[in-house]
């Protein structure tokens, strides 16, 4: 059982005209990538700001490494906000050094690590350039370095890939996975469901200030199974349909002489074996596999369900 690095307990935050967080409890396990998902305005950024001690919750606790989060812990956390930037008129080297020292690094250690990262990204020549001379993609690399430079135990990325070109996105993804391998725990907030599938081990979904879903990707995928299979076969679609029995054909497409059909198993004792037994005599099965729900669908379903439930509650 992995250790929990960060735990929020019943976090509630009220702004003057709306409730931003309503009793949100999450547990972020060590050395895993934790996806914090939710539609716009759900409260993700509010929660992240509370974890970063930028704002304080109205009620609830935050435990870090098993004890109450304390002000010094900011040095163990690295945060890349969604709204991020750099001092435009300041030189890259000076600026990264300054930000590193604000996180508690000594000058010499900061310089040493900056040298490592600048070499790694092959950007040594930028050191004496002003930030405003750099392109947006270049600035994002600098921001990434300043976020991870103090080797925090917990990294928080809020929409890290917005505005990144595909090459930089891949680079940063690679770095994130590498950091995880080295033992860093990562909270990752995004709308980009593909990157969630690619990177996250666990996810939490927030909607309307409430936590509506939390768990490992595996468990969530399992619980959102739709009992749908995709079959590829040669033969007559009509014959296939006639032998479906209680199973339901969702759609079918034909390509290269083969038919690709998605079938939802019947509710009552439906099983893949039964389905196959039924259609085997009339068509030639070429392939068969389960349709795993896409994160995007899970997201939309969960949000839809919880919003619907809210309406009934009211």
């Amino acid at each position: 059982m992995p250790e929990v690095l960060l735990r929020t307990e019943n976090i509630t935050k009220q702004y003057s005209n709306h409730l931003a967080l309503d009793g949100v409890s999450i547990a972020v396990q060590e050395q895993r990538i934790f996806g914090l998902l939710g539609p716009n305005g759900a409260g993700k950024t509010s929660l992240i700001r509370i974890i970063n001690q930028i704002t304080a919750p109205d009620s609830g606790n935050i435990l870090f490494e098993g004890r109450v989060l304390k002000p010094d812990d900011v040095e163990k956390i690295g945060y890349l906000p969604e709204e991020r930037g750099l001092y435009k008129k300041m030189k890259v080297g000076e600026q990264t050094l300054y930000l590193a020292r604000l996180k508690g690094l000594s000058r010499s250690v900061a310089l040493e690590r900056l040298k490592y990262w600048f070499e790694k990204f092959e950007i040594q020549s930028w050191w004496n350039k002003k930030v405003e001379e750099l392109s947006k993609g270049m600035q994002q690399k600098i921001q990434f370095i300043t976020t991870v430079l103090h080797e925090p135990k917990l990294l928080i990325f809020d929409e890290p890939f917005t505005g990144f070109d595909p090459i930089n996105t891949e680079l940063i993804k690679k770095e994130i996975l590498e950091l995880k391998e080295k033992g860093t725990t990562i909270i990752f907030s995004t709308h980009n469901m593909e990157s969630v599938e690619e990177l996250c081990d666990d996810i939490a979904l927030i909607n309307n200030s409430k936590l509506i879903l939390e768990g490992s990707m595996q468990d969530i995928n399992k619980s959102f199974r739709t009992n749908t299979y995709e079959l590829v076969f040669n033969g007559s679609l009509d014959a296939f349909k006639q032998h479906l029995n209680e199973n339901e054909l969702i759609d079918a497409t034909e390509s290269n002489g083969s038919i690709r059909a998605r079938v939802k198993l019947g509710d009552k004792d439906g099983s893949l074996n039964k389905l196959l037994t039924g259609v085997l005599p009339v068509v030639e099965i070429r392939a068969c596999n389960e349709v795993i729900p896409r994160m995007r669908e899970i997201f939309i379903r969960a949000v839809g369900e919880s919003s619907g439930k809210d309406k009934i509650d009211e």
């Binding site: 704002t55 040095e75 709204e83 300054y98 930000l99 921001q143």
Partner: protein
């Protein structure tokens, strides 16, 4: 604590290293020194030698003028009409025409026609000369000896002296108020220049979106205070450079171009005369004769108290206002939106500045009292009062004013900190006063 020093260091160094800072540091003193030297030079150039053509309708009553010619003012007689003389003005080396009308003994006026206006000093000389002759005529007419006349003539002056309970005496004069006014003006300028810099700095951090990165490392209040203190140090540095450079430039130029024995102690006098000269422009009534001896003025001001208070009100006023400027910066997204919040900040400052002239006239009046107690105006107004001398019985006013200023800036900084904390994370939102009020209770 360590981190706030880092912030101060950054705020300070980035500004001090800017070209605009360096340019201002060099240009400022050049400007000041240039202005001072200009005044001195003009003072010298003003007394350009004058050759006057006297048209005397009462000839030879005033012929004595000719004998009183000096290099500076030369009186020359020609027996022509005024109209002819006027024609002559541009075709001769005469610089002016002095017309003595026949009714001069009653009217007590003469006319001076010129192209270029002669200086106040020349004016005075001509007036004195004619005055002297008119006096002689009158003395003869009334049969009074010159001796008796001087015995009877009175040049009366009222000296205003504050008598302190301790037995100490202190002269109260408007001239001393000018010194206070100058110091008040410096405080006013400093608050404005550097308060706006604080605001700009906050806006810059907000629009460049660096602020959220920073406050994930330090508390917003630390960031705000670091900025305010860092910029205060920039201001102090600039002043220090200005003083040193100005003294240096004036010293060098003095020794090279003016055959004057110049020591730094005189510099203050120079500044005073500059100030006085400026004042003179606005108040023509003060003639050269009335300019007090700067040396005397310098010695009459309680300098240790003055400089101590200057430093105190200078920093106190700056801290109070820059906290407000920081809050405004946090509340807006760009500089054009600051307008609506600037008025309540700049109004008291401008009131203080304009009222300081009034306070100079009546340093113990109710306006002086209230404006020097209210923390929003006291940094400027109290300078005038301190310069003019604070009576022992009014020391409590000074203490009250200082305590109130400290109290208010602590309170204001706390208040501004609350607005700041919320404001810096509000993007793309134009805040109203209502909203600012709400932020106080976030």
């Amino acid at each position: 604590m360590n981190k706030i020093i880092l912030i101060i260091e950054r705020e300070y160094l980035t500004r001090v290293k800017k070209t605009s800072f360096i340019v201002m540091s060099i240009l400022g003193p050049l400007l000041i020194a240039g202005l001072m030297l200009l005044v001195i030079w003009m003072g010298m150039a003003e007394n350009q030698n004058q050759k006057l053509l006297v048209i005397d309708d009462l000839y030879p009553t005033f012929s004595g003028l000719k004998n009183k010619s000096t290099d500076l003012v030369q009186f020359d007689y020609q027996d022509i009409s005024l109209d002819d003389a006027k024609k002559l003005l541009y075709n001769s080396d005469y610089t002016a025409i002095l017309h003595i009308p026949s009714n001069i003994t009653f009217g007590k006026t003469a006319q001076l026609f010129f192209d270029k206006q002669p200086s106040v000093v020349i004016h005075r000389i001509i007036e004195r000369r004619i005055e002297g002759i008119l006096e002689t005529i009158n003395l003869k007419q009334y049969n009074i000896s010159r001796e008796d006349f001087y015995n009877v003539k009175i040049d009366f002056r009222l000296h205003t002296i504050r008598y302190k309970e301790s037995g100490e005496e202190e002269e109260v004069s408007k001239e001393k108020g000018f010194v206070g006014f100058a110091f008040g003006l410096m405080i006013f300028m400093f608050i404005f220049l550097y308060g706006v810099q604080v605001m700009r700095g906050v806006i810059e951090e907000k629009t460049s979106r660096i602020v959220e990165v920073i406050i994930s490392s330090v508390k917003p209040f630390q960031l705000m205070m670091g900025k305010i203190i860092g910029i205060a140090l920039v201001g102090l540095t600039q002043f220090a450079i200005w003083i040193v450079l100005t003294v240096g430039i004036v010293l060098v130029v003095q020794s090279v171009f003016f055959d004057m024995n110049f020591d730094p102690a005189n510099l203050d006098n120079m500044q005073m005369t500059t100030e006085m000269a400026k004042q003179m422009e606005t108040e023509k009534s003060i003639s050269t004769k009335d300019i007090i001896d700067p040396n005397n003025l310098i010695s009459r001001i309680n300098w240790p108290l003055m400089l101590g208070m200057f430093l105190f009100y200078f920093l106190g006023g700056y801290l109070l206002y820059s906290a407000m400027f920081a809050a405004v910066g946090a509340a807006v997204d760009n500089e054009t939106d600051t307008q609506q919040f600037m008025i309540p900040i700049t109004m008291p400052l401008i009131i203080a500045y304009t009222m300081s002239i009034f306070v100079m006239q009546n340093p113990d009046g109710p306006a002086a009292f209230w404006l020097s107690i209210i923390p929003f105006t006291s940094p400027v107004i109290m300078m005038v009062r301190v310069a003019m001398g604070i009576s022992a019985s009014a020391i409590w006013e000074l203490v009250l004013s200082m305590v109130l200023l400290v109290g208010t800036f602590i309170f204001m900084t706390w208040l501004a900190g609350k607005i700041y904390k919320v404001g810096i994370l509000m993007y793309g939102k134009k805040a109203s006063y209502r909203e600012l009020w709400k932020w106080l209770f976030y």
